[in-house]
Assembly symmetry: C2
Homo-oligomer: 189 residues x 2
């Protein structure tokens, strides 16, 4: 399965593509950060993001697009632009019939680090380790996009191969993932 | 000048087209409300809105698109969807090279009623009167879309024909509009 992770934003929009299957190692296919100038008008910025996202979708042909779920409670000065960047990404996927899944930041952090409250450095370090990269992905938006893709592979993958009460065949690492993911779903996290 | 006003929203997206020139009567060309079902996934909803908005842009060929400016402080449960609906509208205009202007709700209310704090009934009544409609536009999203278009015509129009200190040639009605618009720009409104 190939997942395109998108960390939406007007100033920096992270894009990361990861291939993987349940129980197999995940592999990075591509990563980049799209930037649009803060001085440009909103239409030009959304067009730049939309064109880039559509180009990636057409070139890498993802099976699914994983987008970070934006909350209105986040940074008020940037949240509207982030929502609009997410909106044009979801639209581009819908036009191509590619399914879109949304993951919250705490789900993503829990999937790659085991804690829904991990900091950016931890997420970047774990993304580098999981994907066996020689260098840490920079900036944080690039690492976040890859983490989103990994999160989706693991959440969907483990759900598919590890039905409730049937975890006997899972490796210790898979069981640790499942525990971290389940922990992230508990209220209060 | 032909203005397409868009009151963005996922559940109801108001579209209204108004023709007008500075100092002339404004005329309604078309009005409608696009609805997408709350149960559908986000991609399908944004695609429905995008297709409708693109169809309108291609059919009515507006000179400018006026979109309501959404604030993160508004209703938290709907604001993200509203921002995304606005985003796909702005994107559709940018793809066609049509300029987009944003007006705040209080600017729109001030333009059509003289008060930035007018209620929905007042806005609807004034839209009906200004456009000489035999019936009030319903629902409120339809009236708001027309009000946005009128707001843009009047704000741009009065600025063009009424430079500062040269209002001697304006009609009493134009002077009243200008006063209302200026009042809406004062801090604290």
């Amino acid at each position: 399965m190939r997942v395109l992770g998108v960390d939406p934003g007007l100033t920096r929009c992270g894009l990361g593509v990861v291939d993987g299957l349940p129980g197999r190692r995940a592999t990075m296919v591509a990563v980049d950060v799209i930037r649009t100038p803060a001085g440009s008008d909103l239409g030009a910025r959304l067009l730049g993001i939309s064109d880039a996202v559509e180009g990636w979708m057409d070139q890498v042909a993802p099976d699914v697009v994983a987008v970070e779920r934006v909350f209105a409670q986040n940074n008020v000065s940037t949240v509207m632009g982030t929502a609009q960047a997410a909106g044009v990404t979801v639209l581009a996927a819908a036009r191509r019939g590619i399914p879109v899944v949304m993951h919250t930041p705490s789900e993503v952090k829990a999937a790659v680090t085991g804690s829904g409250r991990a900091d950016k450095a931890q997420v970047t370090a774990m993304v580098q380790r999981i994907l066996r990269l020689s260098e840490a992905p920079r900036p944080a938006d690039a690492a976040d996009a890859l983490a989103l893709a990994i999160c989706h592979l693991w959440r969907d993958g483990t759900a598919a191969v590890l039905p409730r009460g049937a975890q006997g065949g899972a490796t210790a690492a898979q069981q640790a993932w499942v525990a971290a993911i389940e922990a992230s779903k508990r209220p209060g996290r």
